[in-house]
Amino acid sequence: MLVHLLRRVGTAAFTLVLVSFLVFLAIHIVPGDPARVLVGPDAAAAEYAAARERLGLDTPWPIRFVRWLGGLARGDWGESLRYSRPARELVARGLTVTVPLAGLALALALAVALPLGLAAASSPGRWIDLATVGLVQVGTALPEFWLAILLVRLFAEGMGLLPAGGFPGWEAQAAWMHLVLPSIALALPRAAYLARMVRAAVADVLREDYVRTARAKGLAAWRVVGIHGLRNALLPVVTGAGLTFARLLAGAMVVENVFGLPGLGRLAVVAVEARDLPLAAALATVVAGAIVLVSLAVDLSYVVLDPRMRHP
């Protein structure tokens, strides 16, 4: 049990190193010369050489990678070229928008997916089941940013109910209202995906012998589905939520740009437009690292959720 946990943590640590190596590879080794980008195409040879030295491009790449990894560990993530500020500070500020947005969207998605999936699984072949199957297929095919554009039209400009864009900062009153529409747009496709997971997982459980026993001994239908069904279906549902986290973050980065929210997605677009490699590298490392850590957390949560994992 302990060995299993340690092994899983070790695997995640190794994956994190690989992730940072991939980011390093993208900005240092892949064709495209960061020093040339930094000084511009018409710079003098001496200026170019100075930039190469400043970026450490004259040392062999394994040494540079170790240095880069050391910098990451110490919290020295380089300085943004566009903002002349530490990339770490910019990313940290972006996270204060992106994380609440993604969290709100995930909560909304689960709030829709759990009841819908349970209802569908407990009456297979009935209208609620068929409707769920249809909604799930349509929902997973919808692009988040398209939903976002249409929602703005409907709720912000059409009815004037919610703010259509921008973010006043967390100090402002009712700042979270600015996250409502973006998180609905983000949540819908994720809700469809999760509802499908819940339906499949609960339907699996409801075919088990112990569920038939529970029914036979006269347990109320809601207890059979709610307690036996949901409790045992929790594992695949948590797995699904973990797997969809990557899509959720990526979707948030796009949807932020529809609403002009100052999160990681806006920073990423600025980094592309300004060819701001240190900022892009910091962003990619944080987002990819978060995805690795969430997948670790999901695996570790099995130990809590499934007693069988504790006594293998």
Partner: protein, 280 residues
């Protein structure tokens, strides 16, 4: 009959969505790039989808806008699928240390959603199709790698493979004659679903102005251009997104339908584990 309903609806959606793109190669109702006389015309017989800010016919733009999106998505799934299949195949066949390293590479790639990888490559290479296509291909690698590794790991212990080995078949024959043909259908299903995901990601990126560059239309960028004029006319924002969603819906339904058709044991709702793997 009802078993094949999803598949039939999927094919219908895909044909409905892609027929305009196909016809667009032979005939276009209007020039998709040149401005026209009537701005923001609502849908009518003359302009079935209406016109945009510059009076350009939306149908013509949607017909042309699908080309780059579809080409990039197809290329990315083909390249990423081939690379992932190779990586997973080597891992599953070799086992041990090689398998461990290959699967950690796959795990690391899984941490880069297509949009993130494309933004990183966009910062290095500048916005454009090469970065987007590479990012989408890399994003697809782990899905195919996991599928192939699992298939190899279970198939190489099956009797018919052991029998072939006992009768003197070399690794090449074992892999290409006995193992890969048995994985063809799950890989095909994955490719269908991956194509839908790649189209969605490509549209997001072209919305962020990372993909096809102006003046050529692309579904994602058409939505970007339509966004600011939504209060004046919603149609430029409705149709490109609807066609995109219809394409993805069709692909997903076909993927699910073909999987059910090929593997009756997965029919009904016993799909939790396979669903987790093929889509996120």
């Amino acid at each position: 009959m009802r078993r094949h309903l999803g598949l039939g609806v999927g094919v219908a959606c895909l044909v409905l969505a892609l027929a305009p793109v196909g016809v667009g190669f032979l005939w276009l109702p209007y020039d998709p790039v040149l401005p026209g006389p009537v701005r923001f015309a609502p849908p009518s017989l003359e302009h079935p989808m209406g016109t945009d800010w510059f009076g350009r016919d939306l149908l013509a733009r949607v017909m042309v806008g699908g080309r780059a999106s579809l080409a990039v998505a197809l290329l990315a799934v083909a390249l990423g699928g081939a690379a992932g299949t190779l990586l997973g195949g080597v891992a599953g066949y070799a086992g041990g240390f090689v398998e461990e390293v290959a699967m950690r590479i796959s795990d690391a790639l899984l941490a880069f959603p297509a949009v993130l990888a494309a933004l990183l490559l966009g910062a290095v290479w500048g916005p454009g199709l090469p970065g987007v296509a590479t990012a989408l291909a890399l994003f697809n690698v782990p899905f195919f790698a996991r599928l192939t590794r699992a298939g190899f790991a279970s198939l190489k212990r099956r009797e018919f493979v052991i029998a072939a080995r006992a009768s003197g078949a070399g690794p090449g024959r074992l892999i290409f004659r006995h193992i890969v043909p048995n994985l063809a259908s799950p890989l095909l299903v994955q490719a269908t679903v991956s194509l839908g995901a790649a189209l969605l990601a490509e549209a997001s990126l072209s919305y962020l102005r990372l993909g096809v560059q102006p003046p050529f239309p692309a579904w994602g960028r058409m939505l970007r251009e339509a966004q600011d004029s939504v209060p004046l006319s919603p149609w430029p924002a409705v149709f490109p997104g609807a066609i995109l969603a219809l394409t993805v819906l069709g692909l997903n339904l076909i993927g699910d339908g073909v999987r059910d058709l090929l593997d009756p044991t997965l029919r009904q709702s016993r799909r939790a584990s396979t669903d987790v793997r093929s889509r996120t």
